[in-house]
C-alpha cells in the first residue's frame, strides 16, 4: 500500500487521501465493472480516491486513472468494453441503459493516455447515443472497435 501511495505521488496521480477497496454486490447505480486491472488503478468518485481492482464496480461520473505501469479493462452493463493503457485518465461522464429496449446514453472522455473501445448495445440500438470526448474532439460512435490516444506515448 505504502509503495503504491509513493508511486501515485511520483507519477502525478495525487495523494491518495482515503484509499479503500470497493467491491461487493451490484447496486442500482452501478454502470460497469472493472474486469482487468494491473499496476496502479485509481477511481476518483467525488472527493474519494479509491484503490481499484478487478471486481470494482463503477458509477456515473467516476474518473479512472492508471499509473505508469497500470492498465484497466471495464465492461459496462450494455456490454460496451473499454480498456486503458498506462498513464491514462478516463471519465465516465454519463450513462443510462434500459436492458429491455437497449435504449440508453453513453458519454465518456479521454483526458490523457490510450483507450480501446468496443461498443455495445447502446450504440447498436441508436447511432447517436454514444460519444467519446477528447480535449479537442467529440467522437460520434456508430460502432464498433476503435482506439483513442491523447498525448504522445511516454
Amino acid at each position: 500500500m505504502v509503495a503504491k501511495y509513493v508511486r501515485n505521488v511520483v507519477f502525478g496521480l495525487g495523494v491518495v487521501g482515503a484509499a479503500m477497496a470497493v467491491s461487493g454486490p451490484a447496486a442500482a447505480n452501478d454502470i460497469a465493472q472493472i474486469k482487468v486491472a494491473t499496476g496502479t488503478v485509481i477511481v476518483e468518485r467525488g472527493s474519494q480516491r479509491l484503490m481499484a481492482a478487478a471486481g470494482t464496480r463503477l458509477q456515473q461520473s467516476d474518473v479512472i486513472r492508471t499509473g505508469i505501469n497500470g492498465s484497466v479493462g471495464i465492461t459496462f452493463t450494455d456490454n460496451t468494453m473499454m480498456s486503458a493503457g498506462p498513464n491514462s485518465a478516463i471519465v465516465l461522464d454519463r450513462y443510462a441503459f434500459n436492458s429491455t429496449t437497449h435504449e440508453g446514453r453513453l458519454d465518456t472522455s479521454v483526458r490523457t493516455g490510450t483507450l480501446s473501445v468496443v461498443s455495445g448495445k447502446i450504440a447498436k440500438q441508436s447511432p447517436e447515443a454514444m460519444t467519446v470526448k477528447t480535449p479537442a474532439t467529440i467522437l460520434g460512435v456508430r460502432g464498433t472497435e476503435f482506439f483513442v490516444q491523447v498525448g504522445e506515448v511516454k
Binding site: G24, P25, A26, Q33, I34, K35, V36, A37, T38, A54, G55, S71, V72, G73, I74, T75, N79, M81, S83, A84, G85, P86, S88, S99, V110, R111, T112, T114, L115, S116, V118, S119, G120, T134, P135, A136, T137, I138, L139, G140, V141, R142, G143, T144, E145, F146, F147, V148, Q149, V150, G151, E152, V153
Partner: protein
Amino acid sequence: MLFTRAVQRGCLVAAIAGLAACASSHPPQTVVLVPDNDGKVGTVIVSNVEGGGSTTLNKPYAAARVESVGGKSEPRTVSEAEVKKVFGGAIAAQPIRPISFQLYFMEGTDEYTPESKEAFENVFAEVARRKVAEVAVIGHTDTVGTLEFNDALSLKRAARVRNDFTGRGIPTDSISIAGRGEREPVVPTADEVSEPRNRRVEISVR
C-alpha cells in the same frame, strides 16, 4: 474542466491581442478505427470542437490525428503494427468479450433437455474462466398453462440455472435472475401451444 477553462482563457487572450489564430494548448490526439472480431468495420465521426469540421472514419485502420497546434484533422491510414505498438497496454487489458447462450427445458419443468444439459458445460466454462463474472439469467416458457403458472415456471428455470452455477462455486451475488413467463416467445404461438423453442433461459455472461 480546469483544462478546458485554461484553453478558453488562452484563446480569449489571443483574441484580445489581435492574433489571428488561437494557438491551442491541447495535446495531440489520434483516433483509429479497426475491424471488430468478425472482421466488420464500423464508423466513427471525429468532430473537431475548436475548428469545426469533421472526419468520418469507416475503413479498416483509418485514422484521424489532431495536432496540438492548428487543429484540423487529416485522415490517414495506419498499420496494424503501429496500432499494436501504441495501444499494446490497452489491448492487453481488454476484458473477455461478453457472450450469451440459450438453454432449453422439458415441457412444464425446470429440467434441461439432454442437449442443453451438455451445453450447460460450455456456459459454465465461460463463466469460470472470468476472474470476475457477471451472469444474467432470464427464464421463459411456452404458452401451455396459465400466465401465473408460467411466470412462476420461468423464474424456477432461471433459479435452476443459478443453483447449478452456485453449486459449482460461482458466487451468488454475481448472478441475477428474472422470469418473463410466456410474454416473450422466440416463436409466437396461439395460447396453449407446446413449443420447445420457447421453453428456454437466456444467459448473458460478461
